[in-house]
């Protein structure tokens, strides 16, 4: 599990770096043109943190080790990303880590669903946003719901993360016609309609990478 988590973070960092310019371009349209740069800086810091860390303590139970790693990744985002996305993604990771730590006995698939739900709760609580406000939540909430359904249907972690990923990218596309009522895009009022939300896009990207990793 810890290996899957680490390879998710490393692969995500690579993908974020590749997509940084296009994420920033989306943010130029309805924001201030820094979302890709911000996340690229944060995930670069996570990779540096991973490279610096010593070997995992074998005595530590796997769920605790994974929770610990995810928490440190969240803290790194909070300390390096800035803007709105830093606290939001950082808190999401930290809350997800908390869920992992509690659900020590859960299957990988169930642990993921619980962590994703906790992450959504963290973002919604901090950002005071709900579904339909043209934010990252519009990718993440449908993803969590789809993952839960797949889990209830007996799906393994590959199936559950795949369900989450496709729901996230559908949710991402669904932000295009939305009127933004949170974040910078809300300043544009009607002019925010017709543009895809950068945060929803990065959220779908992160879940897409997770599904790829889980499929291996």
């Amino acid at each position: 599990m810890i290996d899957a988590l680490e390879s998710w973070l490393r692969t995500a960092a690579t993908r974020v770096h590749v997509e940084a310019a296009s994420l920033t371009a989306l943010d130029q349209a309805i924001g201030d043109g820094d979302h890709g740069t911000n996340l690229d800086r944060g995930f670069g810091a996570i990779v540096a943190m991973l490279d610096a860390q010593g070997p995992v303590d074998p005595s530590q139970p796997p769920a605790a080790a994974a929770a610990d790693l995810l928490r440190r990744a969240g803290r790194t985002l909070i300390s390096t990303v800035g803007g709105a996305a830093g606290p939001l993604y950082g808190t999401a990771f930290v809350r997800g880590a908390g869920a992992l730590a509690n659900g020590a006995t859960a299957s990988p698939a169930e642990a993921f669903v619980v962590a994703l739900e906790a992450a959504c709760g963290g973002i919604a609580g901090l950002g005071k946003a709900t579904a339909g406000e043209k934010t990252m939540l519009d990718a993440l909430l449908p993803a969590a719901a789809a993952a839960r359904t797949a889990l209830d249907a007996g799906g393994d972690s590959a199936a559950v993360t795949a369900a989450a990923a496709s729901a996230a990218s559908a949710g991402m596309e669904a932000t295009i016609p939305m009127l933004a009522t949170k974040g910078r895009a809300s300043y544009l009022g009607e002019r925010s309609i017709g543009h895809q939300d950068p945060g929803a896009t990065s959220a779908a990207l992160l879940l897409g990478v997770l599904a790829d990793v889980a499929r291996r």
Binding site: G33, T37, S79, G86
Partner: protein
């Protein structure tokens, strides 16, 4: 087609990554008697601080708005300013470091411009020092271009922030308590309104291209200070008209009437030269005179900017005797100085 601009990013920089630290180093090198830099955290600190028993004022935000905030650190204004990357709010670690560095035992006031990122990061920083240091926060939201409604993140903090920092800073310098200084900051924010427009976009260094495209004969009305597009686009018009577009919503939102006395602040967005800003101030003065509103204090210059954007904003602050007294009080910062 006669163009007076590079078609790619042309800036006085070494590398994109080093703009903020090098600019802060330049600020400290130019004003060693006023500020020092915590280079590890990109924090500008008042020279000779912390001051025991004095309420400390901390602000910060994305870079690209210079002289805001680092240029306002010094006697009678801020004790520290946190510099984020260009247009990206700083991280909680920076605000925590600044807050701990300036605490003089009388509490620390965080002056936060109302943007989701700034609000969330300052809030996390306050949590990090909770218990150790008494922290109060004031969120500035003076931009009338944004409706303050359920359908937005609320009005943005723009030009009024400069006035909050000057006036609350004066009250802090005079020994006001955390509650008093916070009340003064809240009062200034409540009596200040702003609106701006752009003649050009600006280029975020890391992006390398303009944040928005604007036609040769268009102005973007109701912009913020991050190069974000505004509320609407209009055809370029004489500055008397442009000024009217900005002053009218401010006057009506503030409910200013004949006989009221204001501080009029005409701010350049970074690329508009002073000759134009004074022409714009003249337009604003004519409009206010026509409405029987008297300008008893004024400020003209580029004090809260969007990189090299051309354009201007207008901020009006409804004055009373206390506010005038705090405004006139001595200030010694890199960007504002009088009485000392």
């Amino acid at each position: 087609m006669a163009t007076n601009a590079p078609s790619r990013m042309k800036k006085l920089i070494n590398q994109v990554e080093s703009i903020v630290p090098e600019s802060l180093a330049g600020l400290a090198a130019a004003h060693p008697e006023v500020v020092k830099i915590d280079a590890a955290n990109n924090v500008v600190l008042r020279a000779g601080g912390p001051r025991r028993g004095k309420v400390a004022l901390v602000s910060g935000g994305g870079s690209g708005h210079e002289p805001l905030h680092g240029g306002f650190v010094g006697l009678g204004m801020l004790d520290a300013a946190c510099a984020g990357n260009v247009f990206t709010s700083p991280v909680p670690d920076q605000m925590e470091a600044a807050t701990r560095a300036v605490d003089g035992g009388a509490g620390v006031l965080h002056i936060v411009k109302n943007y989701t990122g700034d609000v969330l990061n300052f809030q996390m920083a306050a949590d990090l020092v909770a218990g150790d240091i008494e922290v109060a926060s004031v969120v500035t939201n003076d931009d009338v271009a944004v409706q303050d409604s359920l359908y937005t993140a609320g009005r943005r903090g723009v030009g009024g922030t400069v006035l909050v920092e000057k006036i609350a800073g004066a009250h802090g310098e005079a020994g006001g308590s955390l509650a008093d200084v916070t009340a003064t900051a809240v009062k200034v924010n409540a009596r200040a309104r702003s609106m701006g427009l752009a003649l050009t976009s600006c280029i975020v260094p890391a992006a390398g291209t303009p944040t928005f495209e604007l036609g040769d004969d268009e102005v973007e009305v109701g912009i913020g200070i991050h190069g974000e597009p505004g509320r609407r686009r209009e055809k370029l018009a004489p500055v008397d008209d442009l000024a009217e577009w900005l002053v009218e919503p401010i006057v009506s939102d503030l409910g200013l009437t004949r006989g009221d006395s204001v501080l009029a602040f005409v701010n350049g967005m970074g690329g508009s030269p002073l000759i134009e800003l004074y022409v714009a101030f003249n337009s604003v003065a004519k409009i206010l005179a026509g409405r029987g509103i008297s300008i008893s204090r004024s400020l003209v210059g580029s004090y809260i900017t969007s990189l090299e954007m051309a354009g201007f904003s207008v901020t009006l602050l409804k004055l009373d005797d206390d506010l005038v007294r705090w405004w006139d009080a001595p200030v010694h910062t890199a960007a504002l100085r009088w009485g000392v």
